[in-house]
Amino acid sequence: MKTSDVIAILKKIEETRKEVEDYIKKEIKEDYLLEEISKINNEIALFLISNIEKSSEITHIFKPKSIEEYYDLIKEKIILGSHSEIIINEANRIREKFVKDEWDIDKIYYPHDFDDYKNNSWKYIHVAKEIEKHVRDKIKYISEPDDIIYPAPKILEQGYGDCDDFTVLLSSLFRSLNFKVCIGFIKNHIFSSLVLPSAEVYEDEKTKINIKYVIVPVDNIRFKLRYFKEEITIYDFLDFFSNFRERLINLILEGKLEIMEEIIKIKDKLSYYNEAKYFPIPPLEYKEIKECMKINDLVAKVISDIDLIIKYKYEN
């Protein structure tokens, strides 16, 4: 099956699923039936998707004419991957280490109050961190001379891939857990990215919650800092209550100010990702991406927050 055929069929499956869903809501009055028939409607969509995946063994060889065409291909592959049972199971195995009970990611995207965010954010951010670590441990990076994108379960099975394979696999795993996912393109590189909330920057007037969304490139971003034995990842900046932040403040209070210079260097390095063009993976939308902070802005905000905390501590 040709790539364009697969994409057309996938689109049609999703359109039909929605069309039938509307029909069910309109025509079926009994709650019990409504629920059961809706379930079957979703089941048939997944059944068709997984069969298309199996039958086509989708190994696309292509030369995209534009970045948009490339995005379309990768997007469909991610959507397909995120519905694969193998990917769903793999993602859930990882997430169960941190969130054993109910997986409700809206707790951090749309928290009821700040405590809700505070109590849950670290767990969900750690799941994202662990998924990236898991994939980088398990999948070997190889540079492919040809432009082949494998389906996510295939990448997992073969244990190697290039940057587009990493993008497909990581994004599929994230999407299967309802993370907000986008993909970043920069020069000859493509990478998966997450839209994650961070307790920074502004206070929502209505909810009084201090949340801003950040585009987090999932691109093996790690730093070695003096005074820190373990490597620092980008996720440590996101977690407002992380040990990393606390230790950072303590180090500065101890007079080890040079650590701030290193953090500023990190911020500068991260500005590389500002040049990237980000594309959403549905249900994430373009407008949501536009409202997001860039990762280096987050680090800049962390720096200024730490300044404020230190000033406050000195004054008191």
Binding site: V20, I24, E36, I37, I40, N41, I44, F47, L48
Partner: protein
Amino acid sequence: MKINYKDIEEKIINLIYKPEYLGFIDIFTLKIIFKDIDIKELLRYLKKDGWEIKENYLFNKNILKKIFYEEREKLKKEILDIDNKINLYKKFEESLDNIKEKWLNNFKDNLFIENLINKFFLNKFNRINENINNLINRKKENEKIINTIEEKYRKLFK
């Protein structure tokens, strides 16, 4: 050792309340269960206490009436529940058929997908039919038991 027939009567009552006895027990079974007891003496005692023997069955009319009535009502209620469930399955089948048509209609130009849709729904319909058949069999079984009960009741109360 003196035999306490009152205790044995209690044991028989407990026994005939079980669904497999339905309020009466045949003398042969009674002899097997109480093989160490003089059955003639036991029956003499029981008869004094309102028990009867008909068609080789031992029963107590009052208890039998109660058990028959309760059992019949229980089975009738079950039949009603089964009917409701069957109706629900039929409605479910109807709705499923409608959404199957919608899916097929959208993919009528693609034989591969069409076959997959048919395969998926065939599996669903088979399962529903299997459930409906099981329910129908249960209903038939209940009806059969009611008939047997009523027939027995008529014979023993004649």
